[in-house]
């Protein structure tokens, strides 16, 4: 299990970004959720998106997977995909965007009528048309890797939240994306199950996967991310290395948010 491009630069952050977002805007009715978001993610980098509920962080993630269509702005994935949302989005472009990223959902969204293995191989076989035996072997290896080899023939309702989310991660990995997107991957989990999922994500980052993670787990963001982006009210308030944004925030709103999450009482 490793990122699709083995020739990843040794130092994340150097050269052209793998993923770049510029001037992203999105409104739902009168409510402006994103007001010009800029973001850069380099190959092998882990970016944590943090911020209060309603800050727009999940919407950014959903725009990156084509689940929402921004009203304006640009998203580029190196080397060959550049979308300008000022113009109507073509189906082909949305497909290309989805092809390059894969998402892990807060509520797992596993397919309940399929077994664990079927959940994982569905996309690679039906959509990417890769050969079944290769895909199944790869899926079994990935499941084993997250400690779920014995669950391959179980249905999602038989899994704990932590197991279901690890299947969600494997399903995303099986698509061989360039960027992994995590939407609050541990928020729906019982506290004692959070660790298993975070361990898997940490291992993926160590293996060099490029990831964007929306999370409320500040301690985890601090440990695993290379770059933290704090959003509030649809704008990026502050971004930088975790030690700076989480340890010594410059902006008032960031200070307040970090303080409240670290000392809830």
């Amino acid at each position: 299990m490793s990122p699709t491009d083995p020739a990843a630069p040794a130092t994340p952050g150097a050269g052209t970004p793998l993923l770049s977002v510029a001037g992203l805007r999105k409104s739902f009715g009168d409510h402006e959720v994103l007001r010009s978001i800029d973001l850069e993610v380099h190959r092998g980098q882990v970016v944590a998106l943090i911020g209060p509920s309603g800050s727009g962080k999940t919407t950014v993630l959903r725009c990156l997977n084509g689940l929402e269509t921004p009203d304006a702005g640009r998203v580029a994935v190196a080397p060959d995909l550049a979308l300008d949302f000022g113009r109507p989005l073509r189906k082909r472009d949305r497909g290309a965007l989805r092809d390059r990223s894969a998402m892990v959902f807060q509520h797992y969204n596993l397919f309940p009528h399929m077994t664990v293995l079927e959940n994982v191989v569905e996309g690679p076989i039906r959509v990417q048309k890769r050969p079944r035996d290769v895909v199944v072997a790869e899926a079994e290896r990935l499941l084993e890797r997250v400690g779920l080899a014995d669950k391959r023939d179980s249905h999602p309702f038989e899994l704990s939240g932590g197991q279901a989310q690890r299947v969600g991660i494997v399903r995303a990995l099986a698509m061989q994306p360039q960027v992994l997107l995590f939407d609050e991957p541990t928020s729906a989990l019982d506290p004692e199950l959070v660790g298993d999922v975070l361990t898997v994500i940490k291992e993926l980052s160590d293996e060099g996967w490029t990831m964007v993670i929306v999370t409320h787990e500040l301690a985890f963001a601090r440990e695993v991310s290379d770059h933290v982006v704090f959003m509030d009210g649809g704008v990026v308030v502050e971004s930088g290395p975790p030690a700076q944004v989480l340890g010594a925030p410059q902006q008032g709103r960031t200070q307040q948010f970090v303080r409240r999450l670290l000392n809830p009482f």
């Binding site: 997977n65 084509g66 689940l67 497909g95 989805r98 092809d99 894969a102 998402m103 959902f105 509520h107 969204n109 596993l110 397919f111 309940p112 009528h113 399929m114 569905e122 996309g123 039906r126 959509v127 990417q128 249905h155 999602p156 309702f157 399903r171 995303a172 698509m175």
Partner: protein, 219 residues
Amino acid sequence: MDWDLVRSSLWPIVRGALTGTIPLSLASFALGLAIALVVALMRLSRIGLVSWVARVYVSLIRGTPLLVQLFVIFYGLPSVGITIDPWPSAILAFSLNVGGYAAEVIRAAIQSVPRGQWEAAHMIGMSHGLALRRVILPQAARVSVPPLSNTFISLVKDTSLASLILVTELFREAQQIAAFSQQFMTLYLEAAVVYWVVCLVLSSCQSVLERRLDRYVAH
């Protein structure tokens, strides 16, 4: 009760069920489901006109008696030059009727599948059609089995109306023997019992189907 008459009339009535009621129900239901799926998808379409056509269709079917629909097709159409035999007329009327009722069931079932399932399907790159086929409809099927079974059981009983357009089925057999023997109570009760047995069998089929489709759902 004239038990000799019951015994001698049982086979013609059961034969009417086997060669009339049951095949008529099965054919109309299969065709009706196909119509219903198309109408349900049209109803959910984002194109206003398409959705409107589907709504008008459902409204017409639900707002007019089945007997009237049957008579329009069999007795009405010939006056505009379209003559259809009894059997095809019956199948046409019943399947159009099932199509209207089942369309609403299927639409509701599709809408009952959580939005996250569409999103996960799109995330793995599925088109709308593929997501529908592989992810949404299998889950909607489970939800629609009980209401569709109701529709089917109603249909089985409604096929007795086909006797009025000269289709030989269970009820028409009973009617003819009743007219001949003048034993109305005996024959119509007998017909009722045969309908009831057919519906009992169908209800147990429903339970089996539900249990099969329940395999992947928590209890």
